[in-house]
């Protein structure tokens, strides 16, 4: 009798852990062709269009990188907490509040402030805003172990209602009264706008990549990162070695919120130039995908964000050939589903009964 049994791997499969993101993306594209065939579209043509619309020209590439920036940061925000088994799915809200605080500071400073000063003030305000908003959940979670998933999610709904109020509310001072068909807040002054590098790509990209490497360094080479690794691996061992877990949970929440808040600042101060509720939603959730596609490695968010940005930003082009834009959302979901399923192969293997012990004996020797 031949039967398949499940065997736990001692260590994750190295080959597979490198190949997984690529394989998953391909698998998702394959599955994604089903809804395309449903409407009679040619999947290969659609995917080719997605590639050319994302990377076809210098302009397209800078656009893709521009849109990769915020999801890189919200991806980093997810990495920083998910690795510790804290499920902060509130990057969305932390980004929105970061957008509010940075826009607030920029509007308050007004035009004519020293540009360098205004930029630093705006970015610090964004980071602090996101950080403090995350802190509101960090405290009950760290102190009383209240479920952070539901809390961070509800905070997303609150912040969305809040920015909607700021931008649409009839009595809100932040409302841009001249923009009627296209709801947005007041344009922030030029002195607080991030300088552009090429096309829409602005200086925020440099800040973003720098922050990614700083966080990677923090996790890998510092005492804080070591304590983080111990807490992430075993709460019992962390208590035993005298690590203050409350502090670790709160600091990683604050760091996570800070990354998301920074994303809000670079959007308001760079890409958008104003608070735009529509452009400030969905970025937190895409960040979770970025984190998963980057295999929860801080630097992994850079390629992952570029790939996802290529998919997400192709929506309008797809519509031109009659494919509804939400196809990109379907593809995003499929990527996460496939990559999550693929994680299984890192930790377990299917072996035919009988083959197991021989392979095992060979490996043990």
């Amino acid at each position: 009798m031949r039967r398949l049994i499940l065997e736990q791997r001692a260590t994750p499969s190295r080959l597979f852990s490198i190949a997984l993101p690529g394989v998953s993306a391909l698998g998702a594209l394959l599955l994604g062709s089903v809804p395309l065939l449903l409407i009679g579209a040619n999947p290969i043509e659609v995917y080719r269009l997605m590639v050319t619309s994302a990377f076809g020209s210098t302009r397209d590439i800078t656009d893709t990188l521009t849109d990769a920036m915020p999801i890189m940061l919200t991806g980093l925000a997810a990495v920083v907490t998910f690795r510790m088994n804290i499920w902060n799915i509130g990057a969305e809200g932390q980004l929105q509040i970061g957008a509010v605080t940075s826009a607030g500071v920029a509007l308050w400073l007004g035009d004519g402030t020293n540009t360098a000063l205004a930029l630093v003030a705006m970015i610090v305000a964004g980071i602090l805003g996101g950080s403090l908003y995350a802190g509101l959940v960090a405290l009950p979670t760290a102190t009383w172990r209240v479920d952070e998933v539901v809390l961070t999610l509800m905070m997303n709904f609150l912040s969305l209602a809040f920015i909607n109020y700021l931008v649409l509310g009839s009595r809100s001072p932040w409302r841009d009264e001249f923009s009627v068909s296209f709801p947005r807040g007041q344009l922030i002054p030029d002195s607080s706008r991030l300088p552009e590098l090429s096309g829409r790509l602005n200086f925020g990209f440099v800040i973003t990549v720098a922050v990614v490497f700083i966080v990677a360094w923090l996790l890998k080479y510092t005492v804080w990162g070591y304590e983080y690794a111990v807490v992430a691996d075993s709460r019992g061992a962390a208590a035993f070695s005298g690590i203050n877990q409350w502090r670790m949970v709160v600091t990683s929440f604050l760091l996570s919120g800070g990354c998301a808040g920074l994303a809000g600042a670079v959007l308001v101060g760079g890409t958008l130039g104003a608070m735009e509720p529509r452009a400030l939603t969905g970025i937190g959730f895409t960040g979770i995908l970025v984190a998963a596609l980057g295999r929860m490695a801080p630097t992994g968010v850079i390629p992952a964000a570029i790939v996802l940005s290529a998919i997400v930003s192709s929506g309008p082009d797809l519509q031109l050939i009659g494919v509804p834009a939400p196809l990109t959302v379907v593809l995003e979901g499929l990527i996460l589903v496939v990559i999550a399923g693929g994680e299984f192969h890192l930790r377990y293997r299917l072996v035919r009964a009988g083959a197991a012990s021989h392979a095992g004996a060979g490996r043990a020797a």
């Binding site: 209240v146 959302v329 995003e332 996460l336 399923g341």
Partner: protein, 313 residues
């Protein structure tokens, strides 16, 4: 506020609470087995659009509801496969399913020459007409004149309570959610118990989703559930996994969804954007409050969120 407004809010709580009850009861049994399914909101949307599409094509309400239930069950079966068979982190698997299913709902709503958005299906769930009974002051509109979904939700709560506490499968549910290793050793097939209840939970979420596009609203619009799937999860948490408490919470949340609207009608001078925060503030408050209450541990499934592998060492 006058009596009419009060009755209005109570009736709104009953109507808007009903789909929450279905979704919350499904999630409650699923969580009681130790599986947290965070993809409910997406599953509801996917079911809602599918049911609406079938209704628009065939004109059959029952076929539409069956489709919604089937979509809910099959999507949660996929989630069960990922999280139970493949032992993927329940949260990641659910978020993937959430994005996929809500993407599908938007996609399906926009395809074809005559997209479902803005198209009337001509079919909807109708309330029972009870004639004079509805005219009884106060109690009339509260107890009568509802549709079968609302009456069904009341029965569902009683059934769920009885199922968990007074039946043999319910005993297995409680054992699996608290200590899967011990349950397995006692001959309970943990993976099967979990999968079955996750799928039941998805079917109920599918039905709840269909109530939006076929009953409450009843047209198709994107994000028609307005985050009801998430509120249902908050309800389960706030009710500490107890069906009757969850029913009460669903009623309050349902009422709070309409509270903003009612307040505007009676002339409260607050921006509608801020009033829309009410259910979420309520949810945060309820989750915090019950998490801090001394009885928190009694019904909490201890193994919630932890994948189970029999040969784990």
């Amino acid at each position: 506020m006058n009596d009419a407004a009060l009755v209005n809010i109570i009736v709104a709580g009953i109507a808007f609470g009903a789909p929450l009850v279905y979704v919350a009861m499904g999630e409650l049994v699923s969580q009681r087995t130790g599986v947290m399914n965070l993809s409910l909101d997406g599953i509801m949307l996917f079911s809602a659009v599918s049911g609406y599409g079938v209704a628009a094509q065939t004109g059959s309400l029952w076929l539409a509801l069956a489709t919604s239930i089937l979509i809910g069950a099959s999507m949660s079966a996929l989630f069960a496969f990922l999280s139970i068979t493949l032992r993927v982190s329940q949260i990641l698997a659910a978020l993937g399913m959430l994005v996929f299913t809500s993407g599908m709902s938007q996609y399906l709503g926009r395809i074809g020459d005559e997209p479902l958005i803005g198209r009337l299906s001509g079919v909807s769930i109708e309330p029972y007409t009870t004639g004079a009974l509805t005219d009884i002051p106060l109690l009339g509109p509260i107890l009568f004149g509802h549709d079968f979904v609302i009456y069904g939700s009341w029965i569902l709560v009683a059934v769920t309570h009885f199922y968990i506490n007074h039946t043999e499968p319910g005993l297995r549910v409680r054992a699996v959610g608290n200590d899967p290793a011990s349950a397995e050793a006692a001959g309970v097939r943990v993976a099967r118990v979990r999968a079955v209840h996750v799928i039941i939970g998805g079917a109920l979420a599918g039905f709840g989703g269909a109530y939006y596009s076929l009953g409450l609203v009843p047209i198709w619009q994107e994000r028609i559930t307005s985050n009801a799937g998430w509120l249902a999860i908050a309800i389960v948490l706030a009710a500490r996994w107890r069906p009757i408490a969850a029913f009460a919470a669903a009623f309050i949340f349902g009422a709070s969804i309409r509270l903003g609207f009612t307040l505007q009608v009676v002339g409260a001078n607050v921006a509608p954007e801020l009033l829309s925060m009410i259910p979420y503030i309520l949810a945060i408050g309820a989750v915090l409050f019950t998490a801090l209450s001394p009885s928190r541990g009694l019904t909490e499934p201890k193994a919630l969120g932890i994948p189970f592998f029999r040969e784990e060492r």
